[in-house]
């Protein structure tokens, strides 16, 4: 099976084929992605200033091979824009996204193409992401045709069968000729994962991979992702709003707020020893399974501010329960908190 995977993935192998210390699978360095706000006729005529949406505003992190990292935050925090920038779908305003050491920012569409094979994405809703008129076979084989690594029909089918078995759709031949409507939600998401795996990616981006699935099958899909990164050198970046899932399945958690990572570290450390007031509040409102563990949730008032007008100083200060005067002026950077119990723990708060 390993041989087969390699045959389908020469790009991953060659990109990492440098001597010396291997560059990390993914390195995001001071990434900034701003969107221009469209101006209407009135704004143009009155020469109103151009406004920008600060979707991602200085994000840095690394992802190693075989690692699963969760990007956690509320809607509008920039986690999806971060993923789209890594995919090369959105051009960054500044900063770099390096895949196996190659900065994808300076590459043309043509140069990006082989790299796209190494980064694949799984979307939230398998009811939308699969073409309803494609049989499973077609959905899984299409990426091979697109990237011109198709081979003969028999070879394609063999690869499809192999990959379907890997995602737990077994016996694969039973599923090959089915349509999405004949599959359950969990099975559909497995097909979507198979279609992503067929190119042998080194990096898998999973955007809320289970939030549309029934509770009883979520664990199966998450365990599958866990197995996939475990038995290869594939890294997984999972985007989720669900801290419980992140805590259980990811090695590391990065909490985003308004375009920045405000806290990151090993999952257990972030969940059990949170330092940033936003992380603490977020953790306090996660409902627990045990009714006896009803805690008083620390509910923040209001909602995440508009990323067009980011607050001065620490961007969390208007909602922060412990903010001080200096938090209005000084913009905190990520650093090792005094109370950290792991050297990999970082928080962007002036008070920790």
């Amino acid at each position: 099976m390993n041989g087969n995977k390699k045959a389908a993935a020469p790009a991953t192998a060659s990109a990492a084929g440098t001597t010396g210390p291997q560059p990390p699978l993914l390195e995001v360095a001071d990434l900034v992605t701003h969107y221009q706000v469209r101006r209407g006729v009135t704004e143009r005529l009155t020469r109103a200033p151009q406004l920008w949406v600060h979707a991602v505003d200085g994000v840095s992190f690394r992802l190693a091979r075989g690692e699963m990292m969760a990007l956690v935050g509320e809607s509008g925090c920039g986690k999806t824009t971060t993923a789209q920038t890594i995919l090369g779908m959105v051009k960054p305003t500044s900063g770099a996204v390096r895949l196996n050491g190659t900065d994808i920012g300076g590459l043309s569409e043509r140069q990006l193409r082989p790299l796209r094979r190494t980064v694949q994405m799984i979307y939230q809703d398998p009811y939308e992401s699969l073409d309803p008129r494609f049989r499973v076979r077609e959905s899984v084989e299409e990426p091979m045709l697109v990237h011109g690594i198709a081979g003969s029909r028999a070879e394609r089918e063999a690869t499809a069968v192999d990959v379907l078995e890997r995602v737990g759709l077994s016996p694969a031949r039973m599923y090959l000729d089915r349509f999405p409507h004949e599959l359950s939600g969990g099975q559909r998401q497995r097909v979507a994962i198979a279609a992503a795996l067929v190119l042998g990616p080194g990096l898998l981006l999973a955007d809320e991979p289970v939030s549309m699935l029934d509770v009883s099958v979520r664990a199966g899909v998450l365990s599958l992702l866990d197995t996939l990164r475990g038995d290869g050198d594939m890294g997984i970046l999972m985007i989720t709003h669900d801290l419980s899932t992140a805590a259980r399945f990811a090695d590391r958690i990065a909490v985003m707020y308004l375009g920045r990572i405000v806290e990151c570290g090993p999952s257990a450390e972030v969940v059990r020893n949170p330092q940033h007031p936003y992380t603490k509040a977020l953790l306090s409102v996660v409902p627990k399974r045990d009714p006896r563990e009803r805690t008083v949730p620390q509910i923040l008032t209001g909602e995440t501010p508009n990323p067009i007008s980011v607050p001065s100083g620490c961007r969390f200060h208007p909602r922060c329960p412990v903010a001080e005067e200096r938090c209005r002026q000084e913009d905190p950077q990520l650093r090792l908190p005094a109370a950290a119990t792991s050297p990999a723990h970082q928080a962007a708060c002036l008070l920790v």
Partner: protein
């Protein structure tokens, strides 16, 4: 006598060119004022159909049997004619995705005042004043009634939808997945609002959700539904600490917990189709501890301890706990 008593509720759909689908098969539960009750289950288990039946809002191809008693009166007895008198005035509902169902071209305040006029609760200026009060009650300044839905955030629109449901001072509020599309922080705000309303107004709350931890945090009692039936019902504490149906136990085991150490395991298989005759226990194909008799005998929902019922043959075994 309970405020709301549902007994032996059956709902079946008669789709054209297909077999009848038995979506709800004999559901019974009761509710007192101020009580918060959870109805949990996977998609297709019949939880939404159950609450739609309580509102008399089933689609035309559906039929219902059984009793829904509000203060002892069967509201389903006379079809639409009898249920109309109770709908919104006694039992109101926040629909799934209600926050996305507001009319985009009408002001929020107007949308809350309109049903009051329709139901003869208040008219004109009085209705507008009451709409303002309702908005304040759900944590929105009354002046915001002059704004349009697009000016509201998701959380605020959901609050407005709750205010709308409260317009005719109902005694029972049915909330169908009220926080599903919301962020955790906003979810916490809405759950706090619903809990507060039930406490302060004595509102009986039926919370329909697939999210067990939400029910665990908000409700005192809950019923777990599977394939159109209630398979276990009781205090939420008992459901978590002493589940008496394998489905409840497995559902909790499939739900990751923030501080949980145990492995999160999915339940193999899928719920059965409801358009044919089912023999035996509907959960048997997915059960991890089936007995021989589960194949032929459908277990009845029986009392296993005070206030705790479960439909599993294992509870009949000597020494079962």
């Amino acid at each position: 006598m309970s405020l709301l008593e549902v007994s032996g509720l059956h709902v079946w759909f008669d789709p054209p060119h297909a077999a009848e689908v038995h979506a709800v098969q004999g559901v019974s539960f009761a509710l007192d004022p101020g009580e918060r009750f959870g109805l949990v289950g996977e998609s297709g288990c019949g939880k939404t159909t159950t609450v739609l039946a309580l509102m008399g809002l089933l689609p035309p191809n559906a039929s219902a049997a059984g009793e829904v008693l509000i203060n002892g009166q069967n509201i389903l007895a006379g079809g639409e004619d009898s249920v109309q008198a109770y709908r919104w005035k006694d039992v109101a509902m926040v629909f799934q995705g209600a926050m996305n169902a507001l009319n985009p071209v009408k002001k929020i305040g107007w949308q809350i005042a309109e049903p009051m006029a329709f139901h003869g609760v208040a008219q004109g200026a009085a209705a507008r004043k009451r709409a303002g009060e309702l908005l304040e009650m759900v944590g929105i300044p009354a002046a915001a009634g002059d704004r349009y839905p697009h000016e509201f955030s998701g959380g605020m629109r959901q609050r407005a939808a709750i205010a709308m449901a409260l317009a005719c001072e109902p005694k029972i509020l049915l909330a169908d997945e009220p926080t599903t599309a919301l962020d955790v922080m906003v979810q916490a705000q809405i759950l706090e609002l619903l809990t507060g309303l039930s406490r302060d107004l004595g509102l009986a709350l039926v919370l329909v959700t697939h999210d067990l931890p939400v029910v665990a945090q908000v409700c005192e009692r809950a019923a777990v539904m599977y394939a159109g039936e209630i398979v276990e019902a009781g205090p939420t504490e008992a459901l978590y600490h002493n589940p008496r149906h394998p489905y409840t136990r497995l559902l909790f085991a499939a739900t990751p917990d923030l501080y949980g150490h145990d492995a999160v395991i999915s339940i193999p298989g899928a719920p059965p189709r409801l358009d044919g005759e089912l023999t035996g226990c509907p959960f048997r194909p997915r059960c991890d501890v089936p007995l021989d008799r589960c194949r032929d005998e459908d277990p009845e929902l029986r009392l296993v301890e005070v206030g705790h019922r479960a439909a599993c043959h294992r509870n009949d075994l000597v020494g079962a706990s």
